[in-house]
Amino acid sequence: MSATATTTTAAGPDALRDSWTMLRRNLLQMVRYKSLTLMLIGQPLVFLLLFVYVFGGTMGAGLPGGTDRSDYLVFIMPAIVVITIASVSLSTAYTIALDMEKGIVDRFRTMAIAKSAVLTGRVLGAIVLTFVAFVVVMAVAVLLGYRSDGTVLGWLGVVGLVLLMTFALTWLTVALGLSAPNAETASNTPMPLMFLPFLSSGFVPTDSMPGAIRWFADYQPFTPMINTLRAWMSGGGAGSDAWLAVGWSVLIAVLCYFWARGLYTKVRAS
C-alpha cells in the first residue's frame, strides 16, 4: 500500500520531474486566474498605445532624425519589451509570497520533493508567460504599423536576450517575494522595476536628460539592455552594449538565485 511512497529519491531526474510538475501547476494557475494573466499582458499594451498615440506625434518629431509617430513606435519597442518582462516578473513576487503565506509551501516542504522544484517551477512559468506576452505585444505593434529592419540572426538575439532578462528579473522578484512579510508588500516592493525603464534610454535619448539623471540613465542596467534590443531589432550591431546587457543579466540572475535559495531555506530553518 505504501510502497510508492518509499521507492522514490529526491535526486537528479526527480528534480526535473518535480519542476515540471510545479510548472504545470503554475500554468494551470495562470489559466484559472485569468484576470491577473490578462492584466499582465494588457499592461505593456496600455503603455504601447499611450506612448504611440498620445505622446508619439510630438516625441517622434523630437527624435534625432525622426519625423512622426511611426519613428517613435520603432524607438520605444525595446522599452515596451522590457516593460513586458517587468510586468510579468512583478506578478511572480506576488504569487510566490501568496504561496508562502498559505500552507501549501509547508506541505511541499514536508514531502520528499526536490527542494528547488517550487522555485524553479515558478521561474519556468514566468518565462512561458513572458514569452506569450512578448509575442502578443510584438503582434499588436505590427498591427500598429511597426516594421523591423532586423535580420533573422538579430531577432534570434532579441529572443535570446528577452529570455535571459526574464530569467534574471524573475529570480530577482522570486527573492523579493520570499523576503516580503506578506503578499501585499510583495506586490509593491518590485514596483521600481516598472519605473526604471523610464529612467533609461527607452523612451527618450539619454543625452536629452539633465546631468545627474543622465548619468544614472547611462549606467543603469536597463539602458544597455534596451540599446542592445534596439540595435538588433533594427538590423544593427550592439557592440559593447550587448556584453553589458548579458553581463548584467547573468550577474542579477546568479546573485538573486542564491539570495532566493538562501531565503527559501532560511524560512525553513526558522
Binding site: 510508492t4 511512497a5 504545470r24 494551470l28 498559505k102 509547508d106 506541505r107 514536508t110 526558522s270
Partner: protein, 321 residues
C-alpha cells in the same frame, strides 16, 4: 513500510525563539499503530513540536526519530514516510479538488493511471465527487479541510501528523473528520495529532500528552488523565440559603457554595446517577441545574495548578516568520 515498533521517539527536545523557550525538554514515545494526542492551549508549543517532527524546523537540542529516521540527519527519509496536515489549509485554491489530488500524486511520482485512480478513490471517500471539478476556493471550511486531509493521504503514508485538525470546523464536520481518522487507525496508521479539545483527545487517542509552557506535564490514556481531573459535577442552584443547607446535609459529597447559592455535587457522568440525584432534589427550592463535564480548563487546573493561559497568545512561528 514500518518495521519499527516505535513510530516516534523524542528525547530532550528543546527549541527557543530568541529569549522565548517554546519547548523545554520534551520526551515522548509513540508506538506504531497508535494515536497520540498532544493536548494544550495556544502557545503551549504544540505546533512547534509538529514542525520539528515533520522536518519543517530544526530543534535546538535533543533527539527525534520519526519512522525510524533521524529528523535532523535524514529529513528526506522522514518526509517519504509521513503525511502532514498543518493548521492552515495547504491546498491550492486556484486548482480544482481533483487537480490538487493529482498534483500530490505527481509529486509522489505515482504512475499516471494509478494517480488518477487514487484521486478518484479519495474524492469518493471524502464526499468531494460533486465538487471535484470546482476550484477549491469555492469550497466550505469543512470541504477544504477534507481535501487537505485527502491530499495528505494520496501516497498512503503510515504515519500522519495532524495539527489541530478540527479547529474552525462546525460540529458535524468535526464528527466526519473523526470518523475518517478512526478509519485510518483501523488500517493500522499511526497518528500524531494536536488539539485544544479534551473531547477530541478522549475520543481518538490511545495516549494523551498534556503540553504546558513547553513541558509535557502529564501523559497517559484518556481514562488515566481524567481520573486525575476533578470529574464532572452537577451544579444545583437554590432560591434561598435554607433550601441549600437542607440539601447539603442530605446529599453525599455535596459542597455548598453559600455565596452563589449553588450546591456542587460530584457526578460520574452517567444518566443513572443524574436521575438518582434529581429524584432527591426538592422541586420548590431549586431554581436551576447545570451538568458540567471536565474540560481543558479543568485538566489544566488539576495538572498544572493554573488555568489555561490567555488564548490570545499565538504560537510563535508566526512571529518568527
Amino acid at each position: 513500510m514500518s518495521n519499527h515498533t516505535t513510530a516516534i521517539e523524542v528525547a530532550g527536545m528543546t527549541k527557543s525563539y530568541a529569549d522565548n523557550a517554546v519547548l523545554r525538554g520534551i520526551d515522548l514515545t509513540v508506538p506504531s499503530g497508535t494515536v497520540y494526542a498532544l493536548l494544550g492551549p495556544n502557545g503551549a508549543g504544540k505546533t512547534t513540536m509538529v514542525r520539528v517532527l515533520t522536518t519543517l524546523i530544526a530543534a535546538d537540542g535533543g533527539e527525534a526519530r520519526v519512522a525510524g529516521f533521524d529528523v535532523r540527519r535524514e529529513p528526506d527519509a522522514v518526509r517519504r514516510s509521513i503525511g502532514v496536515t498543518g493548521q492552515f489549509s495547504a491546498i491550492d485554491e486556484l486548482l480544482t479538488g481533483r487537480e490538487n489530488l493529482q498534483l500530490m500524486a505527481d509529486l509522489h511520482h505515482l504512475p499516471r493511471s494509478q494517480g488518477r485512480a487514487r484521486a478518484q478513490e479519495l474524492l469518493e471517500r471524502f464526499g468531494l465527487v460533486d465538487a471535484a471539478e470546482r476550484s477549491a476556493s469555492t469550497y466550505s471550511g469543512g470541504m477544504k479541510r477534507r481535501l487537505d486531509l485527502a491530499m495528505t493521504l494520496v501516497a498512503s503514508p503510515r504515519l500522519i501528523f495532524l495539527d489541530e485538525p478540527s479547529t474552525g470546523l462546525d460540529p458535524r464536520s468535526r464528527r466526519d473528520l473523526w470518523q475518517i481518522i478512526r478509519e485510518l487507525v483501523d488500517d493500522g496508521v499511526t497518528i500524531f495529532l494536536t488539539t485544544q479539545y479534551l473531547e477530541e483527545a478522549d475520543d481518538l487517542a490511545d495516549t494523551v500528552g498534556v503540553l504546558d509552557g513547553g513541558r509535557l506535564v502529564a501523559e497517559g490514556t484518556p481514562a488515566e488523565l481524567k481520573r486525575r481531573v476533578p470529574g464532572g459535577r452537577v451544579d444545583v442552584t437554590y432560591a434561598d440559603p435554607a433550601g441549600l443547607a437542607v440539601a447539603a446535609g442530605a446529599i453525599d459529597g455535596a459542597v455548598a457554595d453559600e455565596e452563589a447559592l449553588v450546591l456542587r455535587v460530584p457526578h460520574d457522568g452517567t444518566l443513572d446517577a443524574l436521575q438518582r440525584l434529581v429524584a432527591r432534589l426538592d422541586n420548590d427550592a431549586v431554581t436551576g441545574l447545570e451538568v458540567r463535564t471536565p474540560d481543558l480548563d479543568d485538566v489544566f487546573l488539576a495538572l498544572t495548578g493554573h488555568a489555561t493561559p490567555d488564548t490570545e497568545i499565538r504560537e510563535t512561528e508566526e512571529v518568527a516568520r
